[in-house]
Symmetry: C2
Subunit: 79 residues, 2 copies
Amino acid sequence: MKFLVRVMPKADVLDPQGEAVGKALRKLAFSSLTSVRVGKSIEIDIQEPDARLAEAKVKTMADKLLCNANVETYSIQAL
Amino acid sequence: MKFLVRVMPKADVLDPQGEAVGKALRKLAFSSLTSVRVGKSIEIDIQEPDARLAEAKVKTMADKLLCNANVETYSIQAL
């Protein structure tokens, strides 16, 4: 089963990478830009026939390793 | 309007970050893992009332700056 874990910086956390991308885009004349935030997109393929168990495993992976809960949030989506 | 641009390394391109994350997860006893690939997740907020035009602008951003077409692919999703 394939899952997508999307890890984003929390709304109240500074995102220097997003600001840099936003600046670069505005220089390319995209003046209508309001905000840009950059996070990680992690595709995980797992051998587990039980969909609910597979998703639980991916959630544990996100909690333990993929996401720093102090500054990031994540969402999981089955692909 | 808010869009999500997901930039992933192409399937035939080496992804050292994904391999490192995969190794770390296997060390945490997630042995059922088949593969991990790590890409970027970019949230773009744009002031543009016309949805089609807004999406076209985000597509141009992805082509011009966000995605390196040699080694990456992207997908756009309205949020």
